[in-house]
Symmetry: C2
Subunit: 244 residues, 2 copies
DNA sequence: CGGGTTATTGACGTCCCTCAACAATGGTGG
DNA sequence: CCACCATTGTTGAGGGACGTCAATAACCCG
């Protein structure tokens, strides 16, 4: 239980240092330690438990009817999460080894929200942040090519994780990335090598990515960048907005 | 302004009839009427205004850097929505003609949430419903084939709209569907005809869809249904969960 | 050392995006 | 009322991208 007390110390220090949204809850938090691929218990009723990621990484995923797994949300240190959906059978699992979470009872969260007005507002902001996270994922998945998806995924990951000058350590496997982006694992690999050959990223080991050229990652098409001459015909421009 | 007063009447009656989550707000609601493709004004600050769809349909969309439009959320009668994201430039537009919304000031919502505990809980549920909606869209977009995407989109639409025995009236154009599913318009059309030829749906007019065979829509692959003999190798089964 | 997981690359077939042409629809003004 | 035009919807041909199958390497752990 060395890791657990260490995580608790880290948690306390972080609470003291930065402005924690859930600071009213810290005395009621239950610190939990998870191993890689270990499931996080979530109740079926909506938001029965609230979690805060201290270290590691967590994925929330659903199984399709054809057996494929879709990662619905990826939580990194500093993120809150909870399970809302009633009908979908979702599983929450720790991705990284030694993932530590702070767990709050949903009932206690409700009570605190009733008493403390400021806390209730923070609670709403937590929900907003979750929505923003899923929405970003939707934009990433909606990308045209696989290289574009992987590129914007790396950029999103870099902006979320505490990065040291564009150096990202991937907390997830290629399979997880594939299930997050809903592409095949092989395509993810090929996208990585393609991005590296194009000078966009630099792979140091399998899990460490250094972003060399952000512009290449942001460019959606690989068609010899010529400063975006005009919107493609697929984008129907302003014809809709001008109607009526 | 005939339509506006009619919508207001409808709104009042609906409030009286069913249990409206925002019933504490009805006297502060501002009823607004929108024409097709008319933009709904949203402030840049998060959740500056809350909206409730009375009739019609509304889309919230973002423009990608390559010019393509991505619909991030689709709101039907009975849905609440608000704009959360700060950095993304999102536009909210009415899809259907004579779209009527009830608008609430975000400030007043905050005030009411501070006074009324029950209302604050309802407010959280509204946020949860929005999350659930975006999440469903994520699962739909993550589908493998275009036919599968269109099929699950139709099923989701049928479960959301007040349907008369599987009869759906699409409030959006093929272009909107394409931007919702992030596929090309032509592929959407081909998927419709393919689903019709397979006997899954029946097109009565361009915008009216009757669902004939739900099973065909739910089947992800068109590979001659043989009762799902085994999960495909792409789905890696339980090998992950069993690790450690 | 051996076995399982993870990662990478190639060959091949299929799905879908693009371009193109055209039909159907709806609104506007003469 | 009808011609006109913009929008919307549909279908075909061709090529590129990605999923699938396969083989292999690298890595971790007992």
């Amino acid at each position: 239980m060395k890791a657990k007390t260490r995580a608790l110390d880290y948690y306390r220090r972080m609470l003291a240092a930065q402005n924690h949204a859930m600071k009213g809850l810290d005395e009621h938090a239950k610190i939990m330690l998870f191993a890689r691929s270990q499931e996080v218990p979530v109740n079926s009723e909506p938001a029965a438990h609230w979690y805060y990621v201290i270290t590691g990484a967590v994925r929330r995923s659903a199984i399709r009817s054809d057996g494929r797994r879709q990662i619905l949300d990826l939580m990194l240190p500093g993120d809150f999460f909870f399970v809302v959906d009633r009908n979908e059978d979702q599983t929450v699992e720790a991705i990284a080894e030694e993932t530590t979470l702070a767990s709050y009872s949903g009932q206690r969260v409700e009570q605190l929200a009733q008493r403390d007005v400021e806390f209730a507002r923070e609670l709403r902001n937590v929900a907003f942040q979750t929505m923003s996270r899923i929405q970003d994922q939707l934009l990433i998945i909606g990308g045209v090519t696989a290289v574009e998806k992987v590129g914007s995924f790396l950029l999103a990951l870099a902006s979320r994780s505490s990065n040291d000058k564009g150096q990202i350590v991937l907390p997830l496997t290629r399979y997880d990335i594939a299930e997050y982006l809903s592409v095949s694992v092989e395509t993810v690999c090929r996208s990585f090598t393609s991005l590296q050959q194009r000078g966009a990223i630099r792979l140091a080991g399998k899990r460490t990515v250094r972003i060399i050229n952000r512009n290449v990652l942001e460019e959606k098409n690989e068609h010899e960048v010529d400063a975006c001459p005009a919107a493609p015909s697929y984008a129907r421009g302003e014809s809709r907005s001008c109607a009526h």
